[in-house]
């Protein structure tokens, strides 16, 4: 680690001065090795006690898709406006769950690590960032699974698939923010972790994950505006556009792209600033 040992003998410094923004970010960057190592090992240990072990990283998304497909595709038949409901659902659900998991993990990241916070000094933002990176790495197997399902389901690769990783990177930026906001909220109000699943359930139905919203927003600018202001809808719509591209008759609405980018950058920047503003209280307990 650069600096610490060398600046040692120089002068007395306040043990409680809070690092300013740039040094703080530099500290976070210096711990990137820790973030990666924890993320990769977290995934390694997550399924360690299960019989099927890490196979669950593949099985879990498959079973999730299976359950939703049976209920919404076969039983409830909410498939109008979608050419291939299974593929439509797969893309929407996997993208949605990435944000859901990163945020819920982030919410627990501070309160479940109190002994670490009491014992080791490091920028606290490391914890929600690690939660997001862990879910990012976990999502890679899920997205790999998604492309397998797409190819088996009869989609042929198209150039816009290359844009899909860009959407996921944008989404990761968005998730960093939601994860940090959720982490701080949980320190004020423990029940956040109980409430979040319901917030996401609501978002799931309100973001066009399991049905196409096209039929609802036609001739209804109010509803269309609401959807455009919903970051999950924007991210999912962008992801679907890169996958199905011209299959959907209408080209992607530029407002959706702008809203998605504004939400993501805004979430990361404001989420980080809001999280850091309470840096001192995380070690207190």
């Amino acid at each position: 680690m650069p600096g610490t040992a060398q600046l040692g003998q120089s002068e007395l410094r306040d043990a409680h001065e809070s690092a300013r923004l740039i040094p703080y970010l530099r500290e976070v960057w210096a711990r990137r090795g820790y973030i990666w190592y924890v993320s990769l090992n977290e995934l390694r240990t997550r399924q360690i006690t299960n019989v099927l072990g890490n196979l669950w990283h593949l099985l879990n998304p498959l079973l999730t898709i299976g359950v939703y497909y049976i209920i919404f595709g076969l039983l409830l038949k909410v498939t109008r406006g979608t050419e291939n409901f299974l593929l439509f659902l797969t893309v929407g659900l996997f993208v949605f769950q990435f944000t859901q998991k990163a945020t819920i993990d982030g919410a627990r990241s501070i309160v479940s690590n109190t002994s670490l916070l009491k014992g080791v000094k490091f920028p606290r933002a490391i914890l929600p960032i690690t939660a997001t990176v862990t879910e990012f790495v976990a999502s890679l197997t899920t997205y790999l699974m998604m492309f397998v399902i797409l190819l088996i389901g009869g989609e042929s690769p198209r150039w816009t698939w290359l844009l899909f990783p860009l959407v996921i990177i944008l989404q990761t930026v968005f998730n960093l923010g939601t994860s940090m906001v959720a982490a701080r909220m949980t320190t004020h109000f423990r029940d956040t972790t109980q409430i979040l699943p319901f917030v996401f359930r609501l978002l799931l139905y309100g973001s066009g994950v399991i049905y196409s919203v096209d039929a609802y927003v036609e001739d209804n600018p109010g509803a269309e505006l609401l959807f455009t202001l919903n970051p999950m809808y924007c991210l999912i719509t962008m992801a679907r556009w890169t996958i199905f591209g011209s299959n959907v008759d209408a080209p992607i609405d530029p407002a959706v792209i702008v809203s998605g980018i504004v939400w993501s950058v805004g979430s990361a920047v404001l989420g980080f600033l809001w999280f850091r503003a309470a840096e001192e209280r995380y070690a207190r307990d």
Binding site: M1, A15, H16, G33, Y34, N41, I48, D191
Partner: protein
């Protein structure tokens, strides 16, 4: 409460021959404990705002202390006397309500065991603990053999940490925490575990750290440990400094 000045007077503003490495100036540490710790929905439903019932704990009261580089200070005091709070405040892990704490270089609490994960092997935990302390991978890999040897865990390094006895886990944590010699090493009861051999080894390591012009501050109930490795003792009682000076003098009056 009057401070019994036994030998070395503290808080003297004159510049000491050895540079001061920790300057604690009229520090107060207070925290609030909630009896019903976290405000939750249940409190709303049951109608009782239990979160309001809280107690302020004045863990450290108006404490001033200067510690010079190369000293090994043992802090004694009964349970709840504010020893650990003071240590964590020096490490910057506990916020202080008034006064100031200045440190020269990096103060590091021997608290790395909190970063370790029970399901990972000893090797992976060395990496994890080192990274948490802010070392980079190459540094840790370069030190890996030394750490394994010092911990004396041998083949157990390949096993997950949840198969370790508490003594083995403590040995691993100590070995990781002392990879890098910090400018100021803070130890909170960390040596009270481990077998006799390892205890001797860790006492040796602590005097090595001190020899490298570092400062050691330790909190322990083992007066023997303080006698064996400290050059100065501080006695805290209910957050107030009771005595400060040569080890034997302070410990003798503490034992009375």
């Amino acid at each position: 409460m009057p401070v019994t000045e036994l030998s070395a007077p503290t808080g003297a503003p004159e510049i000491a021959p050895a540079p001061i490495s920790v300057a604690i100036d009229s520090v107060d540490v207070k925290y609030r404990v909630f009896e019903e710790r976290y405000f939750s929905m249940r409190d709303l439903v049951s109608g009782g705002f239990k979160m309001r019932r809280s107690t302020d704990i004045h863990a450290v009261q108006n404490l001033s202390l200067d510690i010079t580089t190369g000293e090994a200070v043992g802090i004694v005091g009964s349970n709840g006397s504010g020893k650990s709070s003071l240590l964590r405040a020096i490490a910057g892990l506990q916020s202080i309500q008034s006064g100031s704490i200045k440190v020269r270089g990096q103060a590091q609490l021997l608290g790395v065991n909190a970063a370790l994960k029970p399901l990972l092997s000893g090797y992976r935990n060395i990496m994890l603990g080192g990274l948490a302390m802010g070392l980079d991978r190459e540094e840790i890999e370069a030190e890996m053999d030394n750490i394994v040897e010092f911990s004396g865990l041998g083949n157990a390094m390949n096993r997950p940490m949840n198969t370790y006895s508490s003594g083995m886990a403590a040995r691993l944590a100590f070995s990781i925490a002392t990879i890098r010699v910090p400018d100021i090493l803070l130890i909170d009861e960390a040596l009270a575990v481990g077998d006799k051999d390892f205890r001797e080894k860790s006492l040796q390591r602590i005097s090595d750290i001190r020899a490298q012009a570092g400062t050691v501050i330790m909190v322990t109930h083992s007066l023997g440990e303080i006698r064996a490795s400290c050059t100065r003792a501080v006695w805290l009682e209910k957050g107030v400094l009771r005595a400060d000076g040569a080890v034997d003098d302070v410990l003798n009056s503490y034992e009375e």
